[in-house]
């Protein structure tokens, strides 16, 4: 190529393979995307960075055809295209890997991969299909067994199947929605190797994340979003973590401030001995021995689904173990009522439904655990609700707002405040499951400060979190849960990220 002017702007190297301009998408009560522009070039990793609710996933859904924008146009190789469904997206070579995988659990890997392939013959030739799927997987260095059933695979393996699905259908644009959320550090590294192999082969990747470290590592360009609008775009060479964080949250934040002083542990206040939970043939917890002392935070790390939910429920008395005992300050815990009486505060993983009653007001939800007595005082409930709304900057229409109208973060603030910032009676034991998941940075700081306060007031805190950084920043001791067993136990001082990551993946 000698003359630059012969290169058409929409087909030359570096020109966008996929773009969207002026995209507006509304959901009932929310503007998810407000006049958003984005473009993707061949062979690049373009990251959409933002907090939960910033509109990243919605934008990706528009780009793959799952959502139709109300206003705005999607361009493929410079030409406007109308994507009415994921089928249209696939026909244009655009595939999305959803955060919650779209896999049929009872099917084999290759059945999932060939599903919906228009080139597939009328009758299934299993041997030939398995061979073809295996060869596509090998091309990109993605080891999967085509005959394995999805329900037998780990999260990392399932994600590989999702990527193989996209590659099998000939996609050259892959949208990865928060792909590292459920991965161990090692699995994340493996994913990045695959991503680089794909871009080296000329494919383009849209990477959606809210983890700054990863974003700086993998991206060629970063588009930052907040509240449905684009707040900035930077190339990797310019990417500065503090600048990205500022664009993401809308104000300056100190990334390193979130370190907490170690506690001064006293005597054990929460003891679990040989706790086993079985559901049918599934063993959710297998003879767990655990001790939390007063004035310390024990962090439970691990990929979700390895028994965390059951462990939290058992310790809070909500779930009766198949065998084993739980004691709080010598009192056996056999019911949620007994746990409450012994001073256990519980922040469950499921905020609405388990933590808060969605159809009750904020005040009524506070009453559930506060101000015991035969008669309830509505005015006192409102007063409590107003105080919490003001103190934790809860975005709510008022103390009589029903909890179901609150966003996830605001509901969590109400829940944590009810459990931890009670009226005088400080909790003796706190069981908190994923307490900061999906919260914005400000709310995360408040929730962590409350947990830290509880520790300093002498409570034994069990912090179950998928966010390894959070566990490392807060916990005095760390245990790793893998397939219902404790696969590693370490003090904060001796905690090693690599070892924890391997323990999370079950590699001894």
């Amino acid at each position: 190529m000698t003359d630059d002017t012969t290169v058409r702007p929409d087909s030359g190297p570096g020109a966008p393979v996929l773009a969207a301009t002026g995209v507006v998408k509304r959901f009932p009560g929310v503007v998810a995307l407000d006049d958003v522009d984005v473009d993707l070039r061949a062979g690049e990793v373009h990251t959409l960075l933002g907090e939960n609710g910033a509109g990243k996933s919605t934008l990706a859904s528009v780009l793959c055809g799952a959502y139709q924008p109300e206003v705005g146009t999607v361009f493929r190789h410079g030409r406007p295209v109308e994507l009415r469904s994921p089928r249209d997206g696939l026909a244009h070579g655009i595939a999305m890997v959803h955060q919650h995988f779209r896999l049929v659990e009872r099917f084999t890997v290759s059945e999932n991969v060939v599903l919906g392939d228009p080139q597939l013959g009328r009758w299934l030739a299993r041997g030939a299909i398995d061979d073809r799927v295996a060869s596509v997987a090998e091309t990109f260095g993605l080891p999967v067994d085509p005959r394995a059933r999805i329900h037998d695979l780990s999260v990392g393996q399932r994600q590989r199947v999702e990527i193989v699905k996209a590659l099998y259908r000939g996609a050259d644009v892959l949208l990865l929605d928060d792909p590292t959320a459920d991965l161990t550090p090692q699995e994340t590294e493996a994913l990045f190797v695959t991503v680089r192999a794909m871009t080296a082969a000329g494919k383009s990747v849209v990477f959606i994340s809210h983890k700054l470290g990863e974003v700086v590592e993998i991206s060629d360009r970063v588009t930052v979003m907040r509240g449905g609008v684009v707040t900035g775009q930077v190339a990797r060479v310019d990417a500065d973590r503090h600048e990205l964080a500022r664009l993401m949250v809308g104000r300056d934040i100190d990334l390193d401030a979130q370190q907490f002083a170690a506690g001064s542990p006293g005597s054990p206040c929460l003891i679990a001995k040989g706790v086993t939970v079985r559901d049918g043939e599934q063993t959710a917890l297998d003879a767990i021995d655990l001790e939390v002392r007063a004035g310390e935070i024990v962090g439970v790390a691990g990929v979700s689904g390895n028994g965390q939910r059951e462990l939290a429920d058992v310790l809070a008395g909500v779930l009766a173990p198949t065998s084993g005992v739980v004691e709080v300050n010598g009192q056996p815990i056999r019911s949620a009522r007994a746990a409450r009486a012994a001073g256990v505060a519980y922040v469950p993983e499921e905020r609405l439904g388990t933590g808060l009653a969605p159809s009750l007001t904020i005040g009524e939800n506070l009453l559930l655990t506060r101000r015991r007595g035969a008669l309830v005082s509505r005015s006192a409930a409102r007063r409590d609700a107003r105080e919490i709304i003001a103190r934790f900057e809860v975005k709510a229409p008022g103390p009589d707002a029903r909890c179901r109208v609150l966003s996830g973060g605001n509901a969590q603030k109400v829940l944590v405040a009810r459990e931890l910032a009670g009226d005088g009676q400080a909790p003796k034991v706190v069981v908190a499951s994923a307490p900061t998941r999906g919260l914005d940075v400000g709310a995360i700081e408040q929730v962590r400060a409350l947990l830290d306060d509880a520790r300093r007031n002498g409570a034994g805190v069990l912090l179950i979190s998928e966010d390894l950084d959070e566990v490392l920043a807060m916990a005095d001791r760390i245990v790793v849960l893998y397939r219902g067993r404790i696969s590693l136990e370490a003090d904060r001082a001796s905690a090693d990220r690599g070892a924890i990551g391997r323990a999370m993946a079950g590699i001894a």
Binding site: F27, A66, Y67, S85, P86, R87, L90, A91, M96, H98, F101, R102, L103, V104, E105, R106, F107, E111, N112, V114, L115, G116, D117, P118, L120, G121, R122, W123, L124, K165, R169, G280
Partner: protein, 312 residues
């Protein structure tokens, strides 16, 4: 009791199994798409009534059969609109369909209630093989729908497990979101199979009216066959071959009563047979609403859950 009576009973139990088998295979296709079908009983009744009325009006048994099939299909389509497009609760609409089908069949069938059927489906004589001892009456002296139904069961099994369309059907029933993401038109797949469920339930009802029941009786012509079919769907683990075997067992139980009765023996006790549809209804409702039982029995994972792409 002589051997002959038993051979006749076995031969007849296969015939008695056909209405149940047709409805069960239809319900398997229907439910494999993820749409619960508690309305089988209503669809069978409508099919039977339409077939009987058509036979009464035109005197042609095949035309009557087609009318029964189409009437069942119409009810299936209605069920599809309510559950797929309007996304209504599938337990409630299924039960409503039974009430609606029963009421409509009674209302429209009132003028012919108690009438003897004007025409019937006759057994074939397969090139004299029907005269063979034992095997003859059992295997070679059935009517054409018996053979067609057995062929249908084989065809539907191949379709579900070996064809591309069957793969899409199973995917839609297990995980509509996964199917949708792969470009499968979830609603279309569901409509087609809900319609198939209605057509086959209508066929089962029509066969019962035209080949089994000697006269139209709004209380007794169908009387719980739909619920038996649904029970078979559940306990066959949504597999057509097993449902057919189950249907023959039920057919045999229904016929044995008859055979024993001529000897003055009440076995299986009539009171139990009469209770069966109601007991089975309760059993089906308990099983289909218990997550643990559903998982163990291999129910389609998305059974009973309406699908909407925009849900957040």
């Amino acid at each position: 009791m002589n051997d002959n009576a038993w051979i006749i009973a076995i031969a007849a139990s296969i015939g008695a199994a056909i209405p149940i088998a047709l409805a069960a295979v239809g319900a398997i296709l229907h439910e494999r798409s993820g749409v619960l079908n508690l309305g089988v009983e209503g669809m069978m009744l409508i099919g039977a009534m339409a077939a009987f009325l058509a036979a009464d009006a035109w005197g042609n048994v095949w035309l009557a059969l087609v009318c029964g099939v189409l009437a069942g299909g119409a009810l299936g389509l209605l069920h599809g609109v309510i559950t797929i497009s309007l996304r209504a609760n599938q337990i409630v609409t299924g039960l409503a369909l039974v009430i609606f089908g029963t009421g409509l069949a009674k209302f429209l069938g009132e003028p012919v209630n108690g009438l003897k059927r004007p025409v019937k489906i006759d057994p074939l004589e397969v090139a004299g093989l029907g005269d063979l001892p034992i095997l003859g009456p059992v295997l070679f002296a059935q009517d054409v729908l018996v053979y067609a139904s057995i062929a249908l069961v084989v065809a539907v099994s191949l379709y579900i497990y070996r064809s591309r369309a069957g793969l899409a059907l199973r995917a839609v029933g297990e995980s509509p979101a996964a199917a949708d993401a792969q470009g499968i038109a979830v609603s279309r797949v569901r409509y087609v199979h809900v319609l198939a469920g209605g057509l086959l339930a209508g066929a089962g009802g029509a066969y019962q009216a035209l080949a089994r029941a000697p006269s139209w009786n709004q209380e007794y012509t169908i009387n719980g066959l739909g619920w038996i079919a649904l029970t078979l769907v559940v306990f066959s683990n949504w597999r057509p071959g097993r449902a057919l075997i189950g249907a023959v067992v039920f057919g045999f139980a229904l016929r044995s009563q008859f055979t024993f009765q001529t000897e003055g023996i009440d076995f299986p006790p009539q009171v139990w047979l009469q209770m069966a549809p109601y007991l089975l209804t309760i059993l089906v409702l308990i099983v289909t609403s218990s997550p643990g039982a559903r998982r163990r029995l291999g129910a389609p994972a998305a059974l009973g859950v309406p699908y909407s792409r925009d849900e957040r």
